[in-house]
């Protein structure tokens, strides 16, 4: 089973990317975490361009989402909202809206920020956007505030609470892959 990891941050030392790597280490062995690292290459969404063949970077993103059993997105928060590059990539992924690759896809949103709130507003807006796109948004809560104090020099989580929250979030996301269990 494949979980696609999408970091909303392009920064080399991104805490959100660290958070996703940590999630990969907490996954059961039958799951693999695959990173999509094409965020920088996605052009600004343009409906005129969208009318023709999709840009190669967009095709890569759509295929990565399509092939994944679930998606895990870690987002920073810019001006109380979703980073523009991440929103732009999701806007591309959401087309065509009726049949987009996120439809019924289990997705979990997590996030971290240097401030105290852990990107909670960006996460809330991201969940709203994903639900509108038709994704199956898992109810998870990982908001890592003061992120520079929660990781060690190797980029591993140094805070037990954060590690426990992340483990809970992963288990909630993976439960979404088992409809029978959820429905029971």
């Amino acid at each position: 089973m494949r979980i696609l990891a999408i970091s909303g941050s392009l920064r080399r030392g991104s805490h959100n990317t660290m958070l996703l790597r940590a999630a990969g280490e907490l996954l059961p062995p039958e799951y693999e975490l695959v990173f999509w690292d094409g965020l920088r290459d996605v052009p600004p969404y343009d409906e005129d361009v969208d009318a023709g063949e999709a840009p190669a970077s967009v095709t890569v993103l759509r295929e990565a989402i399509w092939e994944a059993d679930a998606v895990l997105i870690a987002t920073p928060e810019y001006n109380s909202s979703i980073p523009g590059a991440l929103k732009n990539a999701l806007d591309w992924a959401s087309r065509p809206i009726a049949t987009n690759v996120f439809r019924n896809k289990p997705v979990a949103v997590i996030g971290s920020s240097a401030g105290m709130f852990g990107a909670v507003w960006a996460q809330a807006e991201l969940r709203k956007v994903l639900a509108a796109m038709g994704a199956r948004v898992a109810e998870v809560e990982v908001a890592v505030g003061h992120a520079n104090e929660k990781f060690d020099d190797e980029g591993r989580i140094s805070d037990d609470d954060v590690r426990a929250q992340l483990a809970d979030a992963i288990s909630t996301l993976l439960a979404e892959l088992e409809p029978a269990r959820v429905a029971a």
């Binding site: 809206i97 009726a98 049949t99 439809r103 019924n104 639900a131 509108a132 038709g134 994704a135 199956r136 948004v137 409809p179 959820v182 429905a183």
Partner: protein
Amino acid sequence: MSTLIEQHTAVPAGTWQADTVHSSVGFEVGYLGISTFSGEFKGFEASLTDGELTGKAPVAGIEVKDENLYAHLQSPEFFDAERNPELSFSGTATGPGAFEGEITIKGVTKPATLAGTITGPVTDAYGNERYALRLETVIDRSEFGIEWNAPLPGGGFALSNNVKLKAELTLVKAA
């Protein structure tokens, strides 16, 4: 000369199937606080057997006038068709045009009372005996986990929580 249709006071005995070509099942929901949005459930089945009414409709059969809206209604945010592909009702007649039973939407089952009229019988052009059953009920969609909404700039929300479900069934006696 007018035709007088006998108004029955009780549902008929035996097994009666909905003639789905001449029947419809649909919904009406308040939109923007000023109007009504409506749609139909295609592909439904319904039958009445000795006062027991059962019906079901595939979520995939919801008919609205826009493909993106259709996709939104199928999504987890609305009916979640992937997990809950069917809506259903089953209940017992408690009077003329009245049924008490349970309705299941999005995997949630709640008690429901359907009220309306039963008319007939009449013999159709092919010699089949028929009844007409018109039923309505109002549900609170939020109780079934369908909670999507959008706030309006002047206050209030785009979509009412109360949804009227309507069935207009032409019943033909099973052979």
